[in-house]
Structures are given as C-alpha cells and as structure tokens.
Amino acid sequence: MKLWRWLWLLATLAVLAEGFRVALFVVPPDSQQGDVQRIFYYHIPSWAGMGLFFAINLGCSLLYLAVRNKNHALALKSDALAVTSAEVGVVFCLIGLVTGSLWGRAVWGIWWTWDARLTSTLVLWLIYVAYLLLRRFGAGPQMRTLAAVMAIFGYLDVPLVYFSTRWWRTQHPAPVFGGAPGSGIDPSMMPAVWWNLAGWLMWGIFVASLRYVSEYRAQKAEQDEALRLLDAPQELAGAAPQGAR
C-alpha cells in the first residue's frame, strides 16, 4: 500500500476516534430523546456518504456512456470507479437503514413503517443492489452500457428520497438541516456532526480508493484476455499444418 494511503488511513482513524469520543462523551444528550439521539451522529454521515458515492456513480456512468467508443482507457477507468462507488454507496445506505430502524424502535416503538422516506430509501438500496448483481453476473461491453443506463435511472430515486419528507407527510421527522424555520440542532451538538461526517467520508474515500485499484486491474485483465482470445484463432490458423486447413 502506498505511503499516502497509510497516512490517509491514520488521519481517518484519528478523526473517527475523535468523532466517537465527542459523540458519546462530549456533546450533551437530547432534551427529549436522551442518549438514543446520539445514533444521529452515525446515521447522518451514512446518508451523506450514500449521497456522495451514488453521485460519483452517476457521474462515472455518464462519462462511460460519453467516451466508451472514443477513449477506451478513460471508459475503463470511469466504469471501474462507477462499480466502486456503487458498492461503497450501498454499504452506507445499508448502515443508514439499519441505524434508522434501531433508532425508530427506540423512539417510535416500531422497527419499520412504509412511509415515503423509508420506502423510497429501501427501493434505492434495492436498485443499487440490482446494479451490483448485474455487474457481478453479466459480462462484456453491453453489460457495462446497460449498467451505466441503469445507474442513471437508479439515481432518479435519490432526489425522491431527499424531498420525500418535504413533499409527503411521513413518520420520519422533517429535515433537520435546511428544513422549516427553527429546524436544526443545538450548536453545542454540531462538533459531533462535523467530526463524524468528516471521519466517515474520509473512510469511504479510503475504502473506495483501495477497491478501485482491484476493480480496475480485474477489468483490465479481463479486457486484455478478451483481446488475446480475439487474436488467438488467427494465430492457431497460422500455426496449423497445411492439410488441416
């Protein structure tokens, strides 16, 4: 592993440790919910990570479709980054769903409800799981094109998730940040938000950078093998004895 990755990892772990300490032992408990509200400090960074990595997936998918017939090297890189960002986004989305469910059980008394926010988020997770399954079990350039188109359609659910609590009446609370006048949390709680947001996004970037390397190399090897096989019949034909032709 390169030196910059080790340094990034060390910085990430330090920020995460500080975020953990601030979230659990420094900021005050919520006046209504008590300590269970501290789930918020791991819940919010998960959604931020999901939004970031699904946006990267969208950008890379658009780039792949734009350059796939013109610049094969750039297309390969953008496709590898699209897969990587979808995986990391799915992990963050899963964590958001699980931590939200645990929080909901403690505060609402139920693990799950089919309101617009929760349902659209579950659908979003399923769309990207389907995307990854297509990537896993499909093969060839058509699969990559199809996956890129699927990623574009899948991303349409992201604004739906974001605006669901504004457009419809939901069990999920109204937006905490950027919501109605008076929304937000007490400034004394913000350090826990910032530390954990920074820490988990740094972690996501670290994991994605590692995953990108392996995905790119695997795709490059697959492409080289396909090109080699295309050349193979000619080589075999050239090597075959005259009578066999």
């Binding site: 953990f20 659990l24 919910q33 008590g34 300590d35 269970v36 501290r38 789930i39 791991y42 819940h43 998960s46 995986e87 990391v88 992990v91 899963l94 964590i95 699980v98 931590t99 645990l102 929080w103 059980r105 403690a106 972690w203 994991v207 590692l210 995953r211 390397v213 392996s214 995905e215 790119y216 190399r217 695997a218 490059k220 090897a221 080289d224």
Partner: protein, 39 residues
Amino acid sequence: MDMGHRHLVIAYAVTILIHLVYVTFVAVKWRAARFTKSE
C-alpha cells in the same frame, strides 16, 4: 441498560461491523489484484 442505551450501542456496533466486513472484502480483492497483471 434501558432500550435507548441498548439501541445506541447496537447502532454504533453494527455501523462499525458492516464497515469492517466490507473493508475485509476490499482487502481480499486488493491483495488478489496485486498478482493481476496491469498496464
């Protein structure tokens, strides 16, 4: 430990566990890719 505290501990533990599982998968893939010929 009341339900609120229990769920807080589980939520933090599950977050860290899911990330650890995924980073293990990534590390396995990364190690395998070291032996894959690249450009």
